[in-house]
């Protein structure tokens, strides 16, 4: 087993909202993350799956120390991120990068593709010599499968898939150890999604990268992750090795998510029994008591409304947070 690179320890992120009332000073709390513990091992890809509002992006931001958790901590290589001063943090930032979901929004339209990729290199003062820097940018473009001659072109000249390649090149520019991929392929066309996944896998092997791959779709995650964590309303409900999770999902929410993926095979689909959840994800302002999933759970009983489930180890590689599973 490889050693863990990132430790997320009981992280809570509670946002205070004033609750838009003129007369009442009601302080409502949005519990975006409510006690998340995870570790990410070196050179692995951890998939993080959940619906909108489950807290997956918030967790990604906590890991990057873009926001400070209200409770708990994240450590990188043994260093606790929110205890570092800004100078120390800067040296850590060299090792962690992010690729965002929408390559139409994450690239500055007024910068050339070369300047976009050069920016992190300049900020960290890695390659002061201009010719050398250009050389590096060109080789980065080649690495992500683009023509190095595009260096002086602007993002609007590229398609979504090409832009995402530029964003990946920017993330790679400072030789990071760890990259948070926040839904990197959700806004791309089907035929391009596979290209980007293949590219990310190739880069991981080439540069020994560690990924946190955030997605709302289990089928995408299955193909790239070594382990998958499933989130619901700020909690991790199940975490397991990818193969175990798909073959033998334990948590009723994981089961529903897997069953909700339509398989592109009409014969298989017609024989498949589907577990369709009722209702919608409750508001994180006032989450249900006890198990947060109980309002939509097909097997919940009274105990689930009073007792908080914790993540239990059910095998060497699988952890589940459900009272009904022993």
């Amino acid at each position: 087993m490889s050693k863990s690179l990132i430790q997320i320890n009981n992280v809570k992120m509670h946002y205070k909202s004033s609750g838009l009332s003129l007369f009442r000073k009601s302080q409502q709390t949005v519990k975006a993350l409510d006690g998340v513990t995870l570790s990410i091992n070196e050179k692995e890809t951890l998939g993080l799956v959940g619906e909108s509002g489950s807290g997956k992006t918030t967790l990604g931001r906590c890991v990057l120390n873009l926001i400070k958790p209200t409770e708990g901590y994240v450590s990188f290589n043994g260093l606790i991120l929110n205890e570092l001063n800004s100078k120390q943090m800067r040296s850590i930032r060299k090792q962690i990068q992010i690729v965002f979901q929408d390559p139409y929004a994450s690239l500055n339209p007024r910068m050339t593709c070369g300047d976009i990729i050069a920016e992190p290199i300049i900020i960290h003062g890695l390659i002061p010599n201009k010719t050398e820097r250009e050389h590096k940018i060109k080789s980065l473009l080649e690495t992500v499968g683009l023509n190095p001659n595009i260096i002086n072109r602007y993002p609007n000249e590229f398609s979504g898939g090409q832009r995402q390649r530029i964003a990946i090149a920017r993330a790679l520019a400072i030789n990071p150890k760890f990259i948070v991929l926040d839904e990197p392929i959700s806004s791309l066309d089907v035929s391009i999604q596979a290209q980007i996944i293949n590219l990310l896998k190739k880069l991981q092997r080439q540069f020994n990268l560690t990924y946190l791959f955030i997605a709302h779709d289990l089928s995408v995650v299955s193909n790239i992750s070594n382990r998958v964590a499933v989130m619901y309303l700020g909690h991790i409900v199940e975490i397991a090795d990818t193969a175990d999770l798909y073959k033998n999902p334990k948590h009723p929410y994981t089961k529903a998510l897997i069953s909700a993926i339509p398989i592109p095979d009409p014969t298989l689909e017609s024989q498949r029994k589907r577990l369709i959840l009722k209702g919608e994800v409750p508001s994180p302002i006032n989450p249900p008591s006890g198990c947060v999933f109980r309002t939509r759970c097909p097997i919940a009983d009274e105990k689930c409304s009073t007792t908080n489930p914790t993540l239990k180890k059910i095998s060497e590689t699988q952890h589940v947070s459900c009272l009904k599973i022993s």
């Binding site: 193909n223 798909y246 095979d265 009409p266 589907r274």
Partner: protein
């Protein structure tokens, strides 16, 4: 299977164009297909392939004056609806053919209550009294699985979640018992578990009322689950059409095959690479000569410089590829 019935809607050589600063774009280029009463047909393709333009052309909602239906026929019950004037078309829109759009956030009017938006069509097309329309609205909301329909009527779209809004859209679409519903990416902006709910609701409603459904999506899995017949579009054209089982089991166009192979399988190992289609989606301003899929295809030869026409492979299977026999 459908030879006995006559088609409900028959589209022939539909050509829809848009004028842009860079020239004329043929967004739907010679599109022909038929829809039979009560069937579910899927249209699949990537962005810019012409699937939404085809839907908007059927509804005659192409934005003017940039867009224009240049040529072709759209026969609804054997009558060409392209010849109808706006007033006559209004009688068909919503009443005989209705459409569900992708974005439930923008397709409902934010300043009108659900009650107003849901009853509007029924007052207009069915000539119901307001009281009756309201009762029917409550029934419809129950049908689409909304909890507490009476209180929902008083709400505004912003009070509802994305999934609930899409249910309202479905309720509006079915309110006048149309013969055909066009669902243009109805669940793309929704969460996975909500997607499954909405599609199941739509399917069961269409089944019970024998309504034909055109399901437009880029998701091959959704099509496989719901559609009996599938149309694959690429760069404004239909490249393959067939019975769902045939098309998925033995695709006859390299693009269809590529799409099917590039979808990640649930049980695949993380070490195996996906088989991606190389290159980028087509730029309609700048299409290659001959077959539009040429630059991304692995089967090309000289023949591909001539544009392939869609030809039958078997009884219910058509493809627009010269070299489909070499496909494996």
């Amino acid at each position: 299977m459908n030879e006995l019935k006559s088609p409900l809607l028959k589209i022939e050589n539909l050509q829809t164009q848009f004028k842009t600063s860079e020239g004329i774009i043929k967004a739907a280029n010679n599109v022909s297909f038929e829809i039979y009463p009560g069937e579910v047909i899927g249209i699949v393709g990537e962005s810019g392939c012409g699937k939404s333009v085809t839907a908007l052309s059927i509804m005659q909602l192409i934005p003017k004056p940039h867009g224009e239906i240049k040529d072709g026929q759209i026969l609804y019950k054997n009558k060409d609806i392209l010849n109808l004037n706006e007033k006559e078309m209004q009688k068909i829109r919503g009443n005989e053919i209705s459409i569900i759009f992708q974005e439930p956030m923008t397709s409902l009017n934010p300043v009108l209550t659900i009650e107003k938006q849901l009853t509007e069509q029924m007052l207009l097309h069915l000539g119901l009294k307001y009281k009756d329309a309201r009762l029917k609205a409550i029934e419809l909301l129950e049908l689409v699985g909304m909890p507490d329909p009476k209180s929902i009527l008083k709400k505004y779209p912003h009070n509802l979640s994305g999934g609930m809004r899409q249910r309202i859209m479905i309720a509006i679409a079915i309110s006048c018992n149309p013969k055909l519903i066009i669902a243009d990416e109805p669940t793309t902006s929704l969460d996975v578990t909500i997607q499954a709910q909405i599609l199941e609701t739509l399917k069961s409603i269409c089944e019970t009322s024998d309504t034909a459904l055109v399901l437009i999506t880029h998701n091959l899995g959704i099509i496989a689950r719901y559609a009996k017949r599938v149309i694959v579009m690429y760069a404004g054209k239909i490249v393959e059409e067939g019975n769902a089982v045939d098309l998925y089991n033995s695709p006859k166009h390299p693009y269809t095959l590529g799409l099917l192979r590039s979808v990640p399988k649930l049980n695949s190992s993380p070490d195996a690479n996906l088989e991606a289609i190389p290159g980028n989606p087509p730029d309609l301003n700048n299409l290659p000569n001959g077959c539009s899929f040429q630059p991304r295809c692995y089967l090309i030869n000289e023949k591909c410089n001539v544009e392939p026409t869609i030809t039958p492979v078997s009884d219910q299977h058509r493809t627009a590829c010269w070299n489909y026999t070499e496909l494996n």
